[in-house]
């Protein structure tokens, strides 16, 4: 069973449906018992980092996610959920993240040419980095996935497993041991996205 962490941020309907589409049970929950008994955990998120980090802390789910990560359970952060895995964010102020992945969140305007539109929105190709991550088992370098974001993972080079070119190589996915993160939305990325979720569900880490 896959547990999708419910801490009051965003709409988890598509995410839940995408697991059903690949034949996995998924529950949306904020219950520590269920999160502990789940085989895998998804940390979703949309909106602003500070707001989401605060909600995660207020519900006590930050500690639960960290504990589950430490136990070796596979965890995947999606979009803002990926950003929350890093140490901190500079989105409207300075906010502390979960620190499961080394690095920080900075505005993409820091690194892309001025004439490019923000947010980075639409379908972009993944450039896979280093040894192929288990979550990319069923996809290839150059496959397209769907992005919507204005901030990106910086100074996390050692954990980057894929980038996307948008005037600069932006962090598209990160991994460290059993912790994974996708800046893009696999649940909105057609077949390629569902393949990534499937591989995550199958990954032995």
């Amino acid at each position: 069973m896959v547990a999708i962490v419910d801490y009051g941020v965003g709409n988890l309907f598509s995410l839940k449906s995408s697991f059903a589409a690949i034949g996995y049970d998924a529950v949306v929950t904020g219950d520590e018992k269920i999160l502990s008994s789940a085989d895998r955990i998804i940390l979703p998120g949309v909106g602003a980092f500070g707001d989401a980090a605060e909600k995660l802390r207020n519900t006590g789910l930050d500690a639960v996610v960290k504990k589950q990560a430490a136990s070796g359970k596979p965890i995947m952060g999606i979009c803002l959920g990926m950003q929350l895995l890093l140490e901190k964010s500079y989105e409207y102020g300075e906010h502390e993240g979960l620190g499961l992945i080394k690095g920080e969140i900075r505005p993409i305007s820091d690194v892309i040419p001025k004439d490019l539109k923000i947010p980075h929105i639409g379908w972009n190709a993944l450039k896979l980095k280093g040894e192929k991550s288990p979550i990319f088992k069923y996809i290839n370098d150059g496959d397209f996935v769907y992005f919507v974001h204005s901030f990106y993972g910086a100074n996390c080079e050692e954990c980057v497993i894929a980038t996307a070119e948008y005037g600069a190589q932006l962090t598209a996915a990160v991994a460290k041991d059993n912790v994974f993160g996708c800046q893009f939305h696999p649940e909105k990325s057609g077949r390629a996205g569902l393949s990534i979720l499937r591989a995550f569900c199958e990954a032995e880490v």
């Binding site: 709409n11 309907f13 449906s17 589409a21 909105k188 990325s189």
Partner: protein, 252 residues
Amino acid sequence: MITKRIIPCLDVKNGRVVKGVNFAGLSDVSSPVELAKFYSDNGADELVFYDITASAEGRALFTDILCEVARTIFIPLTVGGGINTVDDFDRVLKCGADKVSVNSGAIRDPDLIYKAAKLYGDQCVVISADVKRVDGVFRVFAKGGRENTGMEAVEWIRRCVGNGAGEVVLNSIDTDGVKGGFDLEMLDAVCNAVNVPVIASGGAGGIDHFVTLFKTLPKVDAGLAASIFHFGEVAISDLKKTLYENGIPVRI
């Protein structure tokens, strides 16, 4: 590099797709769910569902169907039609819509975009504008293109983006239905005024029109069309292949 998006638009009335379609292999050509799946499986980068229902019953039905569509397809979904309040945003987002497009609702309540963008983020709010030349000036029309608001279109769109609209659908009433190509002049004026994605709508009659659109106006992010896709005049896979051969980045 980000790809140019190809977006079929489906008009839904009382739970059925209006104007049907004629694809082989579809058992129910006016089922929103079957059509959405067909387009999603055949290379559409995004779908727009436009609710043209007038009744409350029809609206509830639309909402149910939207949930079913969102359960079936895994590409971005934009919903428009009958969006007048923040509650309307909430209603369709809960069903799995990713973006919500406002038109007359934003004209009636100039704060709607600001309020929705604050709650759901700029990326979620799309301003859809129906624009027509009147005495050589681009004017915004309301109520499905029937009523001239008197507002100058470029300024209106700039203001909507300033209030938090994260994307613009520009529908040219002048070229809509003519199938003579997109309204390049109007699109150029809007692209030069805003720095958010602009989606061209109105006038697509064939593959060449998309090639011309993206070659002439590299700032345009997406092309939206309805009938040429619905009637099988243009297959999205052929369209994308031609765009690719012309050096235009697309997801294939």
